[in-house]
Symmetry: C2
Subunit: 536 residues, 2 copies
């Protein structure tokens, strides 16, 4: 039917033979995202699950021990089971020997937790001229070792009961330091198990920031010890919540995978769900001279609110989340309610800003930023682009998050960096906007530094984030809809710019990667007519 036609069109330039052969022929043993430098050879070593082990020669720590155990399971899920009993591996391809051991050489002590711009360089050598017959993963940082382990796990090519590994050398590091994925747990609740599953997939795609848009208008699942009523009255139900233990579990799970958890508490708009649990916080809207019973953004003229925000963010940044940064939101503030409120009108007259509601928004943001500036941990912050657009005075180390309309995004990146601020891009990577057909090409064609600006300006681009807003996703479809589409963004943010110019070149590698993730047990959706061994 139509669908079939639509797709035939899609294949032009992408597909191989039609008919019983799948349109996209996957690569074999290629790494996603593509490493910066790789020197493949036409020889192979054989990895036997029964005898293979990782050994540590350099520094060691809990993150490393946890990771080697984890990757043994990822690489050899069927170890000791039926899989081992299927036909033995062959030596068909130029065989240079058995790889029974990969040495992990961490050259500096472990850092305790991941952070902005951490070192993620690593090197892999398999049977290299200077180290024949052996395998090594080496890095200056535990974060590099984690990335190297993922890369090594992707190099294994099933061959009977064993695996072939190309005798290759890899030197790799990320193009951008901020490679994020944003999830929204307000429009729909996402169980902790699903958030962890998503963190697994992030690690397998070398993402390093989980931007957690915890609360919004629709619900307040975050449990605050200091203000328990926020979730008690703001969550969908008393079961649709994230307890302190839940948050700690997620932060630790992410830490062990070299992923930062960046919490967002978006104000003054998008805060309807805060209202019931914190009387006085939201602006009462008026009909004529009487309150209508509905509420607007946080009330900027109620001084008590800044005390509340100080205590709230203090708890967030000292007792829940360990990252240096917090995302303060600041997007899409509607002025209607403020306009209806006579006390607001009086305040504005008093301060000579009558009628200029973005000035009122500035008043709020300025006081909020002052609160944040005095937090115990002196946290850094990110804000959505409106805060910058509205000309609010923001700290010089503020990271401006660009999200608006694809076409204007370039100008915005130029403005923001010209003003000397660091920035990350999401405009072209709103994965929640779905379309029929192959929609990932647009993600792959988008580049955070593709705007008019000096090299100095482009240095201020820290990276970007894929966003999956929650209006239409919950535990039933989050993983399938986010992946492998987010993998496309992952490669744009990790790999060298000249390696990510062609969707045609990426296609067979992406096909292999999608089947790889499916084979590892994750329900990631197909990108075109295709099959994987793990379909059945």
């Amino acid at each position: 039917m139509k669908a079939a036609l639509a797709v035939v069109a899609v294949w032009v330039g992408v597909s191989g033979v039609m008919g019983s052969i799948p349109q996209v022929k996957p690569t074999v043993g290629q790494v996603w995202p593509s490493p910066q430098m790789q020197q493949p050879n036409n020889t192979y070593m054989i990895v036997r699950p029964e005898t293979f082990k990782f050994t540590t020669t350099g520094h060691d720590c809990d993150i490393l021990r946890n990771a080697t155990q984890r990757y043994m399971k990822i690489m050899f899920p069927d170890k000791g089971s039926r899989r081992s009993s299927i036909q033995p591996w062959s030596k068909t391809k130029a065989f240079t020997g058995y790889l029974d051991e990969v040495t992990i050489n961490l050259m500096a002590p472990c850092e305790e937790k991941p952070y902005n711009d951490m070192d993620e360089h690593y090197q892999i050598k398999i049977d290299s001229p200077d180290a024949q017959g052996i395998g090594t993963i080496m890095a200056q940082s535990i974060w590099g070792i984690l990335r190297g382990l993922e890369t090594f796990s992707q190099m294994l090519i099933p061959d009977g009961s064993a695996f072939m590994v190309n005798t290759t050398q890899i030197m790799d590091f990320p193009r951008f330091g901020h490679r994020g994925l944003m999830l929204d747990t307000s429009r729909h609740y996402l169980p902790v198990a699903v958030l962890k599953e998503n963190l697994d997939l992030m690690a397998m795609n070398k993402f390093n920031v989980f931007h957690w848009h915890v609360v919004d208008d629709q619900s307040f699942p975050y449990v605050s010890t200091a203000f328990p009523n926020l979730s008690k009255l703001g969550a969908y139900t008393e079961r649709h919540i994230y307890t302190p233990a839940d948050v700690a579990e997620i932060v630790e799970y992410a830490r062990l995978r070299g992923i930062r958890v960046l919490p967002e508490f978006d104000t003054p708009g998008h805060t309807q769900s805060w209202g019931p649990g914190q009387p006085g916080l939201l602006t009462p809207c008026y009909t004529g001279s009487v309150p209508s019973g509905t509420f607007g953004p946080i009330n900027p003229i109620n001084e008590d609110n800044y005390k509340f925000l100080k205590d709230f963010f203090t708890e967030v940044t000292t007792q829940r989340f360990t990252d240096h940064y917090v995302h303060l939101g600041g997007d899409e503030v509607s002025f209607n309610c403020w306009q209806s409120n006579p006390n607001i009108t009086a305040y504005m007259a008093e301060h000579n800003i009558t009628g200029d509601y973005s000035k009122l928004e500035q008043v709020y943001i300025t006081k909020l930023l002052d609160v944040i500036a005095h937090l115990p941990n002196k946290n850094g912050y990110l804000v959505w682009q409106e805060v910058f657009d509205n000309g609010v005075e923001i700290a010089s180390d503020t990271i401006v998050h660009v999200w608006k309309g694809g076409s204007t995004a370039g100008e915005e990146m130029n403005k923001v960096t010209k003003a000397g601020y660091q920035t990350i891009l999401s405009s072209c990577w709103y994965l929640n906007y779905i379309n029929y057909g192959v929609d990932w090409h647009a993600y792959y064609d988008c580049d955070p530094t593709n705007f008019n600006g000096t090299d100095a300006q482009k240095q201020l681009v820290l990276g970007g984030e894929a966003c999956m807003w929650g209006e239409f996703v919950d535990r039933t479809n989050l993983i399938a809809r986010t992946w492998p589409r987010a993998s496309v963004v992952a490669e744009k943010l990790w790999s060298a710019i000249d390696q990510t110019q062609s969707t045609d070149a990426a296609t067979p590698r992406l096909e292999e990667h999608r089947c790889r993730l499916l084979g590892r047990g994750y329900g990631v959706e197909p990108l075109w007519p295709s099959f994987c061994e793990a379909d059945i």
Copy 2:
């Protein structure tokens, strides 16, 4: 972000209060699809899982026994487990007594298998004036009993460890006899377990036809005993197949749920995957005077092909599928390859149809229909609309399947029925075409009889089918993407036309139904910001 805005717009006229309260407040104990006639009361009976049972007073059979056992599990999944130990039910709502037994009165012997236009009427009485304190499900046919059991299961309202049931009377029957869902197992393979899960959901939405688009260009998963090479060389792999046992399992699973399995083997186009296993079947395409090595539609001038089709469809209709009807496809035949083939050109000159390739298509279809007309079981058939559009002579009992462009669909329905043919509609129900946002309103606003035509013409509209083409769905996303969007089509095809005019009225009922299906263990996706008890 943008996403949030988009949704706020969506809520106009649909939503209740914003903020922590979900936008859509679900109904409680409402039935989906809406019954034709229901007389609710403001009194309730209490159903206790420990003591409740179905009893049979009328005729009995394996389908009925299987169904009562199945619905006991659907209604009381936690029977005897922790759920029973939670707080006891209350008698708050006007309590009229315990409903410990529902009598099933099948007034005529069971029919062995479902068929086109089978009787699906049923009646439910709970504590009715003429039968106080008892519950009854009665019908003239086993199919009506099955629909009644689903309806009864949806009437249960959890209340502590028990359930409340409104003391209501329902008289119900479908608006249309053909209420189908089409799945495509060629673009992606769907495991038998997923097809069964989908059949469960079809039964829970009172669909009665599983239209199985088994094979297409991309792969040939159907195993033919007579022609084993078709799947051996045409399937994605030797594991991506449906054996005779698989087909039998699916047909039986559907039969027990009152669902017909309508197999489609689409020819002469969409047949690339048939080629490798059946040399001579497809038309060799030429470059100049030499075969190019590629192939086109089935070769209409090779007489051996009609012998093959006779043997193939004989096996399909006598040894695999039990339904009286078979879907013959006939859509989207490309003429390029035929045009390139000198033997085809010679044949057409010989038959004075030079240049008129739709005439050549007619030659093929006419011969195919002759083959079908002489099958042992004298099967009826469906064809996609092109077969009618091209003016091929088709049997008077042919069902024409309308799928093309929404706007022209009405005219097509008019033409087809004016010509005296029966028809089903799919044009507006291509669920594979996804969009961002709330997209089900268009499905609900579409009506198969909404075209210019006489009442006699509209009598020829048998119903319709939701179609989920397989280019972008496999086991990872089929269920979530198909449901509950297909539920919307289900109600349009079952419920009275005047009951299905308002998406606003349907919204809270659809919300309850979605949470119901999620609660039953099916990963059906959300339709808007919302929550269900089963989220966690």
